[in-house]
């Protein structure tokens, strides 16, 4: 290596080093800001009393919680919504712990729109691409003849339990709210 070549390489090297001074933090800045602090484990959230659920009726309930949006933290925000279905055959109005309540995420697994109750109240439909689901979250064939169901999987069922409050004697519906990745044919936790 002669003197000229050496100087060429030194120049190139220094230019790269200077570019790195801005470039590397630049990349890190873009990626780093997106790493949201995950709120530890998702926990069960108390939603409502069992007796407030009309059997057989599809009820949408917002799940409230703390929401961190970049530099703003707000409490008591809607972090998601669930559809609750109380089995129609449960007879007692008082809401004994035996009665079954099913919780479904309101997020359509196709593109992430909010599924709605179809006219008639016996099934769900996503307003975006008309994917329809039964009360158990299972995919149904399209509303019109020949329509395919575009959803890659059934509606996501969430862990749901009934808890008796010994003080008041009320039975509460509690749901572990989680988000699952959309567009996949299997469930993967994560937005």
């Amino acid at each position: 290596m002669n003197r000229r070549e050496l100087l060429e390489w030194v120049s190139r090297g220094l230019a790269t080093a200077v570019a790195m001074v801005v470039g590397l933090p630049g990349v890190n800045y873009f990626l780093g800001g997106t790493q949201q602090k995950r709120s530890s484990e998702s926990q069960f959230t108390r939603l409502l009393k069992v007796k407030d659920l009309v059997p057989g009726r599809l009820t949408m309930v917002p799940v409230m919680g703390q929401k961190v949006d970049a530099w703003i933290q707000s409490d008591q925000q809607t972090i998601g919504r669930v559809w609750l279905v109380r089995e129609a055959d449960s007879s007692s109005e008082t809401g004994s712990a035996k009665q079954t309540v099913r919780a479904l995420s309101s997020i359509c697994p196709h593109m992430g729109c909010q599924v709605q109750v179809q006219t008639g109240g016996k099934s769900f439909v996503c307003p975006c691409h008309r994917a329809s689901f039964g009360v158990a979250g299972q995919r149904l064939s399209g509303p019109k003849n020949g329509d395919r169901n575009i959803a890659p999987r059934d509606l996501d069922e969430l862990e749901c339990r009934l808890v008796r409050d010994d003080e008041t004697g009320d039975n509460w519906v509690e749901v572990k709210y989680e988000k699952f990745k959309i567009g996949l044919d299997r469930r993967v936790v994560g937005a």
Partner: protein, 598 residues
């Protein structure tokens, strides 16, 4: 003066560029078909200028964006500038299509102009991204719903998708960072990229254009060759004037649209802008893991295929080449129009979608109407509709009450329910509603107690016994008494505002021969525990207590039928079905004068 200009030219050499432009010629002479290019360039300049001006007011924050855009619209100049910025973005996409098809059909991409063609094609996706990042900046429900889907489409790309989506959203979900990222792309990165590509594009155009040489000018045998300036330029300017004229017309007449502020509590079915409709339609034919074929692979294949044109098409003048090019143009245009048309027709037949769209239009109009009178607070424009009983009332009613109670008036369909099992609450507390309730025929009908356990209860029997026409008393006199009591209760409800002599009579009747206070409490007479309190009947606070806890002693006690407690626990508002604010909105809407259709 002259010396000054000379001084400048010695340093900048600007006359060279000017001379070059004024000696440029087009191979087939000037023509109207060539005006699309210049029109695009000047629209780009207009976009940059109007965009810069809008930046002086716009605030990229989730709370303030909508309000700041609305603020811009408050002055006629701001409204006009934003209108131009909006409509010009659509015009540019149309002109871009025209321009590409023109170049394709004339084969103007061939050597040595490959780079003109390729940089031009690369500008197209950039411009699309430019508009896509601009639409959500107002943080309207429509814009946010669109970018949500667009981000998800990006995210469904294999391998890099999730990373790109996270980069765009600034996290897993749409939030404050999404907006600043979009803003950064829209006013920072994309202008730089588009500017750079435009520079190469124009440099290549100028470099590879034919020019009049001094030989041409000297020779007298050739007919005069028309130079770009001014023969093509005048055509360019006429086209530009017409286009800008149209844009100004729309901008002046309608301004740019500003849909309702984004609210995650509102459901909305986003549809892409018209230029994406073909992809939207195409996407319906793929699902799940193969969707990226429609959204990424097919558009990229088109782009790459077009880019390869200069290297594939090497036949200069053969008629076959001309036919091929024209066929491609027709196929592209036809395919695009066909898919776009199918998509729009499909929506046109979808009654649920149409109803939802109409509903959203109403919501947007309402938001603008409210913004005229209501202040936008530090909580943002989202509160405009959230604080509005007229908007929230029907939504809350549909969510919480409609499964049992209908809400439909005689002239309006209102909110009907498939299986009503409780009284119709349309006009509750009004003279008409109470008169109907005290009607011996109607009390046991589906309109009131027909489907409740009070169907055969004391109240029904009382009304049927006392107020039915038994022949002893004239029907007219009885009707008069019922009306007086109804007026008295409507006054009690503060719905009937003027306290008339009839109301005084009515109050007396309630306490005496009406027999109401045998079961109901009414001010100083009667007791609680047997029937709902008539003191303050149907006032806002009475209704609020009733809905909060119908099984309270003041109302139905243990006789309560199926009505749930909507806010039984004041200590834990988060566990109640309805918050205090929601109750207020619902009740305010229920008590609204019912002359207008709900």
């Amino acid at each position: 003066m002259q010396s000054w200009v000379d001084w400048l030219d010695l340093r900048l050499d600007y006359r060279f560029l000017r001379n070059r432009l004024s000696s440029r010629i087009l191979p087939n002479g000037p023509g109207w078909l060539y005006t699309s290019a210049s029109c695009l360039l000047w629209l780009l300049v207009i976009q940059c200028i109007t965009g810069l001006l809008l930046m002086a007011t716009y605030c990229p924050s989730m709370n303030s964006a909508w309000a700041s855009v609305h603020f811009i619209d408050q002055t006629s100049a701001g409204r006009f500038l934003r209108g131009i910025h909006h409509y010009a973005s659509h015009a540019m996409i149309i002109l871009f299509g025209v321009h590409v098809l023109r170049v394709l059909s004339t084969g103007a991409y061939r050597a040595p102009r490959e780079l003109v063609w390729i940089t031009g094609l690369l500008l197209f996706p950039l411009m699309i991204v430019w508009t896509v990042t601009g639409n959500p900046l107002s943080v309207s429900q429509k814009g946010i719903a669109q970018i949500q889907v667009e981000g998800n489409i990006l995210g469904s790309t294999p391998v890099f998708g999730p990373l790109l989506r996270r980069l765009l959203f600034g996290g897993e979900d749409i939030g404050s960072l999404t907006l600043t990222r979009l803003y950064f792309l829209h006013v920072g990165l994309l202008p730089v990229l588009v500017g750079g590509l435009c520079f190469i594009h124009l440099h290549q155009v100028i470099k590879h254009s034919p020019y009049i040489t001094s030989d041409d000018a000297a020779s007298t045998s050739n007919p005069e060759r028309l130079t770009y300036w001014p023969y093509q330029s005048v055509r360019n300017m006429i086209t530009l004037t017409i286009v800008v004229g149209f844009l100004s017309f729309f901008a002046w007449k309608d301004g740019a649209p500003l849909p309702a502020p984004a609210d995650p509590n509102l459901a909305f079915s986003p549809r892409p802008e018209w230029y994406f409709r073909w992809l939207f339609e195409l996407r319906r034919h793929f699902s799940g893991d193969t969707e990226f074929i429609a959204t990424m692979v097919i558009p990229s294949a088109f782009l790459l295929g077009f880019m390869a044109a200069p290297f594939v098409d090497r036949i200069r003048t053969h008629w076959l080449a001309v036919v091929c090019r024209l066929l491609i143009v027709v196929a592209c245009l036809g395919g695009w129009s066909w898919l776009t048309m199918i998509s729009f027709l499909q929506d046109g037949r979808d009654t649920e979608y149409l109803a939802e769209t109409a509903e959203f239009e109403k919501l947007s109009a309402r938001a603008l109407e409210l913004a005229k009178t209501e202040p936008i607070t530090d909580k943002g424009a989202i509160e405009l509709l959230r604080r509005d009983p007229q908007t929230q009332g029907p939504l809350l009613f549909a969510r919480h009450c409609l499964s049992c109670h209908p809400h439909s008036g005689p002239k309006t369909p209102g909110l009907a329910t498939a299986e009503p099992s409780a009284p119709n609450l349309y006009g509750i507390g009004t003279v008409d509603w109470i008169t109907g309730f005290l009607d011996s025929e109607r009390i046991a009908s589906d309109e009131y107690f027909g489907r409740t356990k009070f169907r055969d209860g004391d109240m029904t029997q009382h009304v049927q016994g006392m107020f039915a026409d038994d022949g002893k008393e004239g029907a007219a006199a009885k009707a008069q008494k019922i009306h007086a009591m109804a007026v008295a209760l409507a006054v009690e409800a503060q719905i009937e505002v003027s306290d008339s002599a009839e109301a005084v009579t009515g109050r007396e009747l309630i306490k005496s021969s009406g027999g109401c206070t045998d079961c109901h409490r009414f001010h100083d007479q009667g007791e609680l525990g047997t029937a709902p309190d008539l003191t303050g009947y149907a006032t806002a606070s009475w209704l609020k207590q009733l809905i909060s806890r119908p099984s309270d002693e003041r109302f139905y006690g243990d006789r309560n039928d199926r009505m749930p407690d909507f806010a039984s626990d004041p200590g834990h508002p988060e566990l109640n079905l309805l918050s205090s604010q929601e109750l207020d909105l619902l009740i305010q809407w229920l008590r609204e004068p019912k002359t207008v259709t709900p």
